[in-house]
């Protein structure tokens, strides 16, 4: 996870990207550490003026995060990568 944060920060500086999509379809088990790391990634990206969208969360993962009391403040969520891209492209609902 630390490695991911470093790589992400390097890449954001290099490319000047304005959006980050994290696809966690393959994640079946989460703990509070991963939940916090996802928020941290969101905060890091915001420092580079990039918005983070977490996509493809499994229902079981969502339930676990809720039970842990983590609502992932500071990051957006979407059902799949397509909808995540829509959010980043500004095609999302104006209030969202």
């Amino acid at each position: 996870m630390i490695r991911l944060q470093e790589d992400l920060a390097d890449e954001l500086t290099r490319t000047g990207a304005h959006g980050v999509i994290i696809d966690i379809t393959g994640v079946e088990i989460v703990d509070s550490f991963i939940g916090r790391m996802l928020s941290t990634i969101g905060s890091i990206s915001r420092l580079f003026d990039a918005e983070t969208v977490i996509v493809g969360m499994r229902p079981a993962v969502a339930i676990t995060l809720t039970e842990l009391g983590l609502s992932l403040k500071g990051v957006r969520t979407a059902l799949n990568a397509e909808k995540g891209l829509q959010i980043l492209n500004g095609k999302s609902r104006p209030d969202g």
């Binding site: 977490i54 996509v55 969360m57 499994r58 229902p59 993962v61 969502a62 339930i63 995060l65 809720t66 039970e67 609502s71 992932l72 957006r76 969520t77 979407a78 059902l79 799949n80 909808k83 995540g84 609902r93 209030d95 969202g96």
Partner: protein, 299 residues
């Protein structure tokens, strides 16, 4: 079970007076169950049990105890299903003691045998009661399972809009089930708006509110927006007086209002079925809305 010689003697005695004992036993049981079972039926059941008791007492047959217990289990389960009280069920076994006591009361030499027999009947009585309560617990568990399954439908209101009409009290187990079903449906249908309708929830206390908030938080993690609808005046008063905060979750008084809000978020609008007033049909491609009375407007 070690029954020894007294048991054998008792077995012989019971075998000799079979008809008399069963007759009296049946009489006592039928009087106890207040005519819900016919005497013939009772006599048949008790006849089988009686034979097993005699076989067990005689000690010749090691399978008799198991068969007797199985027979009692069967009888108790039947009684539990048919709504008999525990007393009526246990009486079915204990009356045998009474029936036999009436017979041996005058025969002084059978006292030790009767005491051993009495202990055996007590044991069987306890066994009956255990089987009875196990059957009742099973019935209750089955019913609450059935209720859980019945009471948590997730329905599709529109393309991308689903609704969960909740009926009955929300406890942790149900919230878990509702949450799982809602999230699974969100993933399966790709919906991005969910309406949780609590018209059928009798009371909303802090616990129920906590459960609702959790469900909404979980749905948000999947990228779906939730609206809580069906808040009745009394419920609204309770929520406010308990100081429950729904935060930035939209709440509406009726399902219709919640649907209107969801449609608005999805960029849809319901207009009267006059084709001339449909903006997209006048300018450009034909209106492709799912229903005649609605149309997709350009956002």
């Amino acid at each position: 079970m070690d029954v020894g010689t007294p048991g054998t003697r008792m077995a012989d005695y019971l075998r000799d007076h079979r008809d008399k004992v069963i007759g009296r036993w049946t009489e006592l049981v039928v009087a106890g169950v207040r005519g819900r079972v016919t005497a013939d039926e009772v006599q048949r059941e008790l006849g089988d049990l009686f034979s097993l008791v005699v076989r067990m007492l005689s000690g010749a047959d090691e399978h008799a105890a198991g068969e007797l217990h199985a027979g009692l289990d069967e009888l108790s389960r039947g009684r539990a299903r048919n709504g008999f009280t525990p007393r009526e069920t246990a009486l079915g076994v204990f009356s045998l003691k009474e029936a036999v006591y009436e017979l041996v009361a005058d025969t002084a030499e059978l006292v030790p045998e009767f005491l051993a027999f009495s202990r055996l009947i007590d044991d069987l009585g306890l066994h009956t009661f255990e089987a009875y309560s196990a059957a009742r617990e099973q019935i209750i568990a089955d019913q609450s399972n059935a209720m859980l399954e019945l009471s948590t439908p997730v329905v599709r209101l529109w393309d991308g809009i689903i609704a969960v009409p909740l009926v009955g009290t929300l406890d942790s187990a149900r919230t878990q089930l509702v949450m799982e079903k809602l999230l699974d449906t969100l993933v399966a249908t790709g919906a991005d708006h969910a309406v949780i309708d609590i018209t059928g929830v009798p009371t909303v206390d802090t616990e129920v509110a906590q459960h609702l908030l959790k469900t909404v938080a979980a749905a948000r993690l999947l990228g779906a927006e939730c609206t809580i609808s069906g808040i009745r005046p009394q419920v609204a008063q309770t929520i406010v007086s308990l100081g429950i905060e729904f935060g930035d979750i939209a709440t509406k008084s009726s399902l219709a209002d919640a649907l209107a809000l969801a449609l608005k978020h999805a960029g849809l609008k319901v207009v009267p079925a006059l084709w001339s007033r449909c903006p997209s049909s006048r300018s450009g491609p034909r209106c492709s809305s799912p229903s005649r009375s609605t149309c997709r407007t350009t956002p």
